[in-house]
Subunit: 195 residues, 4 copies
DNA sequence: GATGAATGAGCATTCATTCAT
DNA sequence: CATGAATGAATGCTCATTCAT
């Protein structure tokens, strides 16, 4: 085992943890399994991270960091909406693993983990500029957020996570399913934006 | 707890398991915890169920059973679409726990669990009648399914699971969030049905 | 491994734990070592005891129980004081192990474990009847307790624990050391009782 | 922390180790905890000490050194016996931590650690001069040692270690408990010296 | 039907210790 | 002198599961 570089070790742990958490879930992924897959001693993981949970939190932070440097308002001009969504989707598809972890953890009904909402509201707030009516603000903002979150953000994240399994089950090929999803999300969510 | 016969014990186990699985996830919910919460001996659980996984499968079966006896096509007549959705939503909200389990398990990227898709395609097939064009069938059907699944089925299930946490995070009250969601899902999904 | 009798298993665990705790100290005695010495599976220990600490507490309780059924006032009549002390000493020498544990744990300066004092005050209160002066009570009682505790109780417990090592170091034989200790404790403590 | 030279670092380690050993016991005090409390890297501790045990041995040596430069015979002249004991007690009370460690370690029934006896016999031999009868020497010396050790040395060390907890439990204030102990130890031990 | 007792394997975490720099 | 990084072995404890009764 090379003692060369603590930074690389840390990265390797995060990489393997993200993969395993998303494959079997946070709880079923053991530190022992991570250490074996990473080729790193179990105790070394605890040199770099306080505990198992802090690995998860670190993954979240890294994702948020990347999201921040990226999420930009997608405007309504239909000219290139499709390609904009395609880019967005490709960006998110690279983050499939951490997104699946985020969704699974958020769906535990008794945790107070609100990462999903914090991330969503960061992203959605970027687009709030679209709201042109500032009278009667709160009621409209509430509807706007629900619409953005449940008919935009949520379907997209779910698509990223479930797409592959969807293809396997329905025997459709990748390009087609993506094409179809983009058409569906434009028709439904983007064509019904609250303004 | 009156354990009049084995049936009640079995029901109690299922009831507690469903609650706990949804609260902390399938993996973090131990048989020991279930037995303690249910006031039932651990070994008794193994009298009624072969193993932990078969409890989960039994919960799935029960849900599918209930879904089958219920899912009916929601037609396009906008007259009472809203109240129809409201009813649908109330029906599903009672199943919040098992739905959260189903979603969490489906999102593990390495499982071959396709319950989510089997349940979805049962439901969606009921509505396929709506498709009026039978020529060029497959391509259209594919789009239809993607649309139904990712912009209808998925947002609704996610809403059922996340609604309470959404309210806590955004400080909105229950009635309003439901009202808003129904408006959003009608605007987006139902107004863009593939026909 | 016989599954015959949970009570016996529990007793065996306590017996081995007491021995090991006193040999190497509570902290250095691992549950694994106890289980190995007892010929009992590690997990079985946790079936019978909530955690490691509750084994210790159980040992304390058992000792206190035995002490209660035993400690009687030793009166001043010198006729058979010696043989009374000898009996007392033999009784305590059988409890050498738990006494050494009790002392070691009590000497950790940051624990709030007051078992030693609770046990001592039980024993000493039995003898408080000897105090014949009830005027000016508290100051006298305080002195009485300090005297009983630090020049009676403490030397006796320390003797029980250290006697064997004392003999090894000073190369004296058992009978003689006991004889000498009894003479010393009578001369010092019993001849100077607060009355 | 000014780590001007290695000497200070070494001192700091010893200081923190002594504190922690006495607080939680030698076994429960980890090198990691010592290093954190001392603000010194774990590996640095191993630069200064071969292993954990040698820290303990070093603390013992230091104590013995200090004891040697100090222990003087307390003669029988009752004139100022009280103040002599008070001084002795103050000297030992400053060494409470290492004394508690010494006692705890000595009470492990399977260790061959005889530091307690070596220290005691150093101190007691200083006073052996008091013995005026040199015929029949051994039997008398044996009694003398037992008396000095178990009714003098042991109660005093135990008092030093347990005093604070004694006060907490019995709700007595410091001055009073010391006053009482001195009276008790004079009455019992010093008034019954073997001569 | 139900249960007390038991277990092997595994869990997250910590240990004292090492070593290249 | 000092340290960041690493490790094998062990820690207390929990797991799903079994089985005689």
């Amino acid at each position: 085992m090379p003692k060369i570089d603590g930074y690389l070790t840390r990265e390797k742990i995060l990489e393997v943890a993200e993969k395993l958490f998303s494959e079997v879930g946070y709880d079923a992924a053991s530190i022992g399994a991570i250490s074996k897959l990473a080729g790193i001693n179990k105790a070394t993981i605890y040199y770099h991270f306080k505990d198992k949970l802090s690995i998860l939190h670190c993954l979240y932070s890294n994702m948020i960091e990347q999201m921040k440097n990226r999420l930009m308002p997608i405007d309504e001009s239909k000219i290139d909406l499709k390609s904009k969504i395609k880019m967005e989707l490709n960006f998110l598809r690279e983050k499939k693993n951490i997104i699946s972890i985020l969704l699974m953890e958020s769906m535990k009904t008794n945790t107070s983990d609100d990462s999903l909402f914090r991330i969503a509201s960061d992203g959605i707030n970027n687009e709030k500029a679209r709201l042109n009516d500032l009278t009667n603000a709160q009621a409209k903002k509430d509807l706007f957020f629900v619409h953005e979150f449940f008919t935009g953000f949520v379907p997209i994240l779910n698509f990223v996570v479930l797409e592959e399994k969807y293809r396997d089950f329905f025997h459709i090929d990748e390009d087609k399913v993506i094409e179809n999803f983009i058409e569906a999300i434009i028709r439904s969510h983007y064509n019904s934006h609250i303004q």
